[in-house]
Every structure is written in structure tokens, then in C-alpha cells.
Symmetry: C2
Amino acid sequence: MTAEQRLRADAQRNVEGIRRAALDVFRTGGLATPLDEVARVAGVSKGTIYHRFGSRRGLIDAVVEELVAEQVREIIEAVEALDGPLVRFEEWLLRTWLLQFDEPAANDVLVRMLPESEPLTTLCDRAAKFGRRLLDDAQAAGVVRPDLTPEDLTCLILERGVIVRACTKQTRADYRRRLDFVLHGLRTPPGITAAGS
Amino acid sequence: MTAEQRLRADAQRNVEGIRRAALDVFRTGGLATPLDEVARVAGVSKGTIYHRFGSRRGLIDAVVEELVAEQVREIIEAVEALDGPLVRFEEWLLRTWLLQFDEPAANDVLVRMLPESEPLTTLCDRAAKFGRRLLDDAQAAGVVRPDLTPEDLTCLILERGVIVRACTKQTRADYRRRLDFVLHGLRTPPGITAAGS
DNA sequence: GCATTACTTGACTGCATCGTCAAGAAGCTA
DNA sequence: TAGCTTCTTGACGATGCAGTCAAGTAATGC
């Protein structure tokens, strides 16, 4: 970070303050929160944010990793520790959906707001790739409907994202209960014995 | 309509023109379309719309019946003609979801945008009441999961509403295919023999 | 301690939309 | 056709957020 070393002391302080404020504010309100709010919390003016980070996207790129990566990684690790293709598949989906409910910022990432942002896209792809592997395994075992595609999986997460954004009134318990209906709909229907060739 | 008879000839013409433009514009773009657009199509100024209909809501109230009631009624009639509680329940849900995809205005009504609007709420309640009856029948027959509540049903339609609004890129065929997953998830899971007491 | 340069500020422009209103246009009546 | 009344107009004010920049402030090096 030679570039950051060259900053004047006050600028250095501000960069840190803005980062911390952004983490705080985005964590609570999602990535769409007005930058005036971040500026207010950081105790600087909006101009300073633009001067330091170039743009709204620049600021998001600078904090998204710290904001979300950990949580996505945690889910992957927790699922890796489980046994059985169906359990693993469903637990991953379930935890992802709950993360979307609990963390507006994580949801914004998973919904691919700002598709131009590289660190954000990277995070997203990592999760998608893992999900795809679980889907493959579950379908190979014949426990998840064979006509479910990786795109369907992406869509299921995207859909959940717009739902949690729009239906802010529902309780977590209700949200959680309804997820079971969806999961149940993804299992191999009775009458089908195994996945296709 | 004595009140309308008293309008001056040009005003009369404009009211009609605005109504027709609103039907046209709302049908295509949903109830959130800017009134400037309606004004443009009607060939009047925005001021005239406000003068004649009082507010955006006033205009919507004046056309929503003609815009959506017919379609909701059609679905109910088509479903009434079917046999079997599961078929009826699923066909109603399916047709409602497809209506939401095909008609932005109908979707806006079902999603309860403008909860203050009386004709809009009436339409909505009519649909909900019918759905509830189908749910009762299907649960009594043991073909739909007994823990599905009428609120869940409302929620399923609401969810679909925000999804079609947000995911405008998906093809109708994909949307349709995925609905089957959801329907499947609402059926009685294996291992449960009949609905509760 | 002073000049220099880096940094910060907040008022400003731009955009999109809602809804209003004074002034002007047009229909209506005698 | 004159004069009254109704109706229409479009510029305007308000809102909320993004992003910019000239002018002011403060750290730094000598």
C-alpha cells in the first residue's frame, strides 16, 4: 500500500474512517444507502468520499470483500462439514437464503447489483460455483429433480433476493418456514427413480 | 353520470381520451407509469389529468376495474370448470402467476400497490377469497400440505409479483417451468397421510 | 514560521417525478 | 358576436439522490 502511505495524515485518517463508516452503514442498510449517510457517520463531507474513492462503486469495491466474503466462506465451510448430497445441497441453499434475509449487503451482492464491479462478481461466482457442485452431486444421487439447472439455482437465489427486499414485513420465522416449501419442491418428485444419463 | 353530462364538450372528450390512454399505457407499463406518459398519449397536458381525476390514484381507480377485473374473473371461471381439488388449486395459482407475468397492471393490483385504493383492494380480496376456498378444499382432500396457510398463499402471489417486476430478462418459458417447482413444493409431502383434524 | 502543496468542503448542477396554479384559450349562451 | 364561464396549459416548486468543483483549510518541509 505504498500509495496509501503517501497520503497526508488527515487523509489517511479519513480513508480509514470512511471505510469503517461504510462497513457500518452498508451492513445495516445495504449497498444502496445514500453516500450522504456514510459521510455523516464518518464525520466528513460527501466530497471527500468521492475524492478518495472515485465513485460510489469505488467505495463499495473497497469494502465489499470485508463486508461479505467472510459470510459466504462461512456457509461453504459449514456445508463442507456435512454428510449426504441432499443435506448438503439443501443446507447450502437454506443458509444462503437466510443470509440474504439477515444481511442486506450480502443480499445486494448475491443479487448482482452493480454487475460491473469486479470484487463483487468474484464473490458471487465463488458461491455459484460451489452451489453448482452441490447440485451436481445431489442430482447424481437422484435426490434432487433432474430438470433443475444451474441457472435455476441462480434464479432461486436472485428471486429470494428481490423478495427479502420487497417483503420487509414478514418475520424471520415465517420466511424460514416458507423456505421449506421451496426446498421440498426441488426434490425428485415421486415416480422418478433416478437422474437421467 | 349526470355529473359527466354537465362537462363542457371538450372536457368530456378529454376525459374519454385520458381514460383510453391510461388503459393503453397502464396495460403496457403497469400502474407506476409516469402520468406525463399518459398525458402525452392522450394528447393533453398533465395538468388536465389532475384537474379531471384529482390525483394519480383517482385516475387509477377510474380505470382499474376495466383494466384488470375481467382477467381475474376469467381465471375464476376457467378454474370453476375444472374437476379435482388439486387440479383446481394448482391451475388457479398457475394462471394467476402467469397473469402476473403477462400483465404488469394486473400484477400491480395483486401486489397491492396503492393499498388505499378501494376498487383495487376489492379486486384483490375477491381473488384471495377464491384462492382460500380452493386451498381449503385441497387440504381437506389431503393433496396439499396441511401447514400451508391462507397467508402463505397471499405471500406466494406477492412474491411472484416482485419477482416478475425485478427479473424482466427471463423468458416466459423459463418462468413457467420454474412455477412447476414451486407448485410441487406445495403438495403434501410423502409420509403424511391426510390433513389434520 | 512561512510557503507550498495536499486535502476538504458544501453549495451547485443534473435528473426524474410528483403535484400545483396563474394566465391564457376555448366552448357556451343570449 | 360579445361576454361569461369552464377548461387547459406548461412553467414552477418540492423531493431525493448522484456526482462535481472553486474556494477555503490544514499538514508538511525547509
